[in-house]
Subunit: 403 residues, 2 copies
Amino acid sequence: MKTIVLGGDGFCGWPTSLHLSKNGHEVIIVDNLSRRNIDNELEAGSLTPIAPMGQRLAAWKEVTGKEIAFRNIDVAQDYAALLELLQTEKPDAVVHFAEQRAAPYSMKSSWHKRYTVDNNVNATNNLLAAIVESGQDIHLVHLGTMGVYGYGTAGMKIPEGYLDVEVTTDEGERVQQKILYPTNPGSIYHMTKTLDQLLFAYYAKNDDMRITDLHQGIVWGTNTPETKLDERLINRFDYDGDYGTVLNRFLMQAAVDHPLTVHGTGGQTRAFIHITDTVKCVELALANPPQRGDKVKILNQMTETHRVRDLAELIARLSGAEVAYVTNPRREDAENDLHVRNDLFLDLGLEPTTLEAGLLSEVTDVARRYRDRADLSKVPARSTWTRAQKPGVPDQVRKAEPV
Amino acid sequence: MKTIVLGGDGFCGWPTSLHLSKNGHEVIIVDNLSRRNIDNELEAGSLTPIAPMGQRLAAWKEVTGKEIAFRNIDVAQDYAALLELLQTEKPDAVVHFAEQRAAPYSMKSSWHKRYTVDNNVNATNNLLAAIVESGQDIHLVHLGTMGVYGYGTAGMKIPEGYLDVEVTTDEGERVQQKILYPTNPGSIYHMTKTLDQLLFAYYAKNDDMRITDLHQGIVWGTNTPETKLDERLINRFDYDGDYGTVLNRFLMQAAVDHPLTVHGTGGQTRAFIHITDTVKCVELALANPPQRGDKVKILNQMTETHRVRDLAELIARLSGAEVAYVTNPRREDAENDLHVRNDLFLDLGLEPTTLEAGLLSEVTDVARRYRDRADLSKVPARSTWTRAQKPGVPDQVRKAEPV
């Protein structure tokens, strides 16, 4: 099976590419290296020393004997190159990770809002238009986000993509309908994934395209069995206030003796998944495509939910770190419950990797090993959702900063 | 009241700008003249001879003594100029017509799909981001489309934007929810207006922006009291297969002895509004803004519904024209019913201009007057929704065409 991975240099795309390659896919990575370039912009790189793509692929070949091809294409901008790639390579599937994926980054300024919308929407629409123009029956697998649903419900478990509702007709008759779950995104980034959903629904309907959308929770962990094979294969680890995800950030903060920065009351409940499960889920999605003419197949790619302050207190207990309850830079509900269905992946055989001390300490070990590479000034979240919010900087850190 | 009209050179934007100017608004038109440039691309211009913007505005001043300013800005591309305009002019409101608005044009090719998505989404998001960055409390009024709803319902009248539904919780409790009406767009163009809706919902929530979205039916008619004041003020009239709207196309076809091209069975039921009501509705929307913190105010801007074949048969009866039932170039249901609420505009005092012979003959008169300007080869709709659809060309026209 030949699979193109758009965004195959990123935090999820890289380990997914290796996992698919190991399990027999012929993999072509497409990436414009935008994530590395954003490191330059933010002056905050991966805590782990990630190798250049050429070294990564050479190491993979050396260690496993398998080849992965690489093409540097900006799929949001260079439609001609993308189309030509589909026409030449005739892939069975395309996995689409090629989007700006950080909520705080998307809220930093007008420029960042506009870049995120322009990049993400055009990347998706270019891919869809190119698949139609190619005339090929290519299965598209896209990384969505749990954040499309929003984090409040009317008291039911969040279903997988589609919600059963009843409407009342003018004659008073009650009619059942299955609708795309009404979205309530919490940032410009999350909103772009709600736009993606409507693009997918349209192309599935008009062009009978086979599309799978994976609504993923917050990813934690760093390495997978494949990225551990050689240090040149190491995955990226983001610890900064824009790209670092909450659980990994707490573990890194514990490792470098920084207070664990909990936004607001920490009452936010979120969905989580370990990076080793991410790569397995994508493989399962590729092996179980929808049929032509089906609506978009939507799966919730998460394995458990946790309240943010519970995670902080757990890690504080394990590590002795201090918890700092800081101003919430986001405009969001202080507290929410979250119950999510994930039966579709469980039915496909996923055995969830859940939160346990062993896996937590693995992340802490990675963080400790590379702690000298960290710039602690990048740890607090400083991107605010509106002018009314304030950066999430602990008092002791604020006092130590130059005015 | 100072009002900026984005897209003020177009079919709806131009008469709206004049109507607002006449009724006391200080109007600034922003347009990149893209519609005139698309005339060049399609080799199909307005049936009516529209004057260049400079002549239009000079005539308006000559006839009424009122000044309308004009700025040539591509709002989808030139964010800096748009922001600077808001900061300098400090408008009370912005009316946003600056989108590619033809469904068939949006389906002509990959390029046209990509242009429509890129242009429409970035125009809207640039405007939203610029209003936030300006820090001003500007009311945004946007021209949406009835097509966001799709043309099938579960048997109830289409509400204005929001649908009441019931969901059942895990405990079996029934809970009422008011949700954005689930969308079902029929073309890439219509889909972009469903993307706009999600952008608006997000900025209304995160930034307390005051936004009104007008879901307009198919516009018919040509001139308004203002555009009739001087021939240099004449409105555009599109008769070609890409930009011509169905009722105006039938009237023009009757005027030039072309068969009335009905797609498929003509069983499609659509919503309609006369151009004089369009401009009144926008004025009413500007005078009745939502409050800060309100969700997006959505109004259905239409006054009646008709089945397409009924319109064709009516015009055939009045004019003696022949009706040609041709292949439908669109992928859509052959037949649909449509019932739509429009109480909000009626409550604001709109007195609908409905279909009547006098108004129909006014359009026919305009078409007859300028019939020598028509290129009849541009009349059939040739843009097909997929490779499976065929152009809507009547047999007698097809036979006369060069192979």
